[in-house]
């Protein structure tokens, strides 16, 4: 039987790059989707509002694990060839689109109505109104909660282990099955996640404090 040593530690640590890669995919895809969702929710078009609202309700009202299963088991049914990589990526993108969309909707709505009215008065089109007036200001408020949500994404990628994607958690399970030293293995796994997430949490808290101080002025 193997014992937990440096090569085993390296195996888990190396899997961290897949966790990071999956998190980045989920974040970038989720940012694009989330922007569409947030714009849909805040638009004056009833249909867009309903579609975005329904999307959020479905993805915030069901477990991420089930969303992962639905993509993983559903895609072959719909005729797509799929592997754990793609399934995990798609499910995480859809999920983060809903959550980021809801966070950013709040940020867009926090922009004073007078700003939008002024843009209207200047007869700016929807695109310029959003691009030059609303979104740049919303971005400033959105930064701290978005960094905070990044932590949720990184933690969410651990569920990909359940469908067989080898990231940190799955690598831990593999090593645990070979060494039977669960205490050691899962402490290391937890520690790696902690060192990925903690700096981001601290950064988010720092940004939030700075912003609160700026608003208090």
């Amino acid at each position: 039987m193997r014992t937990f040593g440096f090569p085993e530690f390296l195996f888990i640590l190396e899997a961290a790059k897949w966790t990071v890669a999956l998190s980045l995919i989920a974040f970038i895809g989720g940012a694009i989707g989330g922007l569409l969702v947030a714009l849909g929710r805040t638009s004056e078009n009833r249909l867009a509002q309903l579609a975005a609202g329904g999307f959020i309700q479905i993805f915030q009202g069901t477990p991420l694990l089930l969303q992962l299963f639905l993509v993983f088991f559903g895609a072959p049914v719909l005729g797509f060839d799929i592997n754990p990589w793609v399934a995990a990526g798609v499910a995480l993108i859809l999920n983060s689109s809903a959550f980021l969309g809801e966070i950013w909707r709040g940020c867009i709505q926090a922009i004073p109505a007078g700003q939008v009215e002024a843009a209207h008065a200047l007869s700016l089109s929807y695109v310029s109104r959003m691009r030059f007036v609303v979104l740049p200001q919303a971005l400033k408020i959105a930064l701290a909660p978005t960094v905070g949500y990044l932590v949720q994404i990184i933690k969410g990628t651990s569920l990909a282990a359940i469908i067989g994607f080898t990231e940190i958690t799955r690598a831990g399970q593999i090593i645990n099955n070979a060494t039977f030293q669960p205490l050691m293995v899962f402490s290391v796994v937890a520690a790696i996640y902690f060192f990925l997430c903690w700096p981001l949490s601290l950064l988010a808290a720092y940004m939030e404090r700075r912003q609160a101080a700026a608003l208090a002025r």
Binding site: I58, L64, L66, Q67, F69, G79, P182, L183, S187, V189
Partner: protein
């Protein structure tokens, strides 16, 4: 797409699904109550306790909030038994959920406690209320009212993340779905139905939380 959906096998198993749904409700409700208790104690410790206690509570919160629930679950189910602790998947799952929720809810309640104006506490002192009375009536209740929306959405997130306990085969709704899936191979149909049940549960819980708010916290604010 040439696939015929067959929901018969799923609906034929409705007693199992019902049992699984009930298990998920029970597990979540228990975790919410115990997690809330943990959070209230920790929030008190963090705002009023001695320094070493604050340090311990902070470490607990940061550790839990910066690691995935699945890893915490594996830790409780696989790692702790290797230290000699024997417990069932169900108990391990409940413990992991309580400890996880406790950390998130502590931060939420702490924010509520810190939003209570100092004058209100001084008024409590002036009325000669005891320390625990001040905490309970003057600090905790208005604090809970202030952070009620955040707390209830955290509770619903907990109910949804309880699906993860199926990874250690604790008996919840998702475990039932996984078992059915391996018996009938109707995985897509099963997960659609089960996702629908979770959606209904989320809506039901948020209706329940609105009712609780109306029944116990819906008094006028003087601000």
């Amino acid at each position: 797409m040439n696939y015929t959906f067959q929901f018969d096998a799923v609906f034929a198993a409705w007693p199992l699904l019902l049992k699984g749904t009930w298990n998920t409700i029970e597990l979540s409700l228990l975790a919410m109550l115990l997690g809330l208790a943990v959070a209230i104690v920790c929030a008190w410790g963090k705002t009023a306790g001695p320094k070493p206690l604050r340090f311990v509570i902070n470490a607990y919160i940061e550790l839990i909030r910066n690691t995935p629930f699945l890893v915490q679950l594996f830790f409780f189910f696989f790692a702790l038994p290797s230290l000699g602790l024997r417990w069932s998947a169900h108990t391990a799952a409940l413990t992991a959920l309580v400890i996880n929720l406790g950390a998130y809810a502590t931060e939420i309640i702490r924010a509520g406690i810190e939003s209570i104006p100092k004058g209100q506490i001084e008024a409590g002192l002036a009325l000669n209320l005891k320390r625990h009375e001040i905490f309970r009536f003057v600090i905790l209740k208005p604090a809970l009212k202030a952070i009620y929306p955040a707390l209830s959405s955290q509770f619903i997130l907990l109910m949804l993340s309880s699906a993860v306990v199926s990874a250690i085969s604790a008996d919840d709704l998702t475990s039932v779905a996984a078992n059915l899936q391996s018996q009938t191979f109707r995985s897509f149909e099963i997960y659609i139905v089960v996702a629908g049940i979770y959606l209904l549960l989320a809506l039901a819980f948020s209706a329940l939380f609105r009712l609780i708010y109306k029944a116990s916290l819906n008094y006028p604010d003087r601000r």
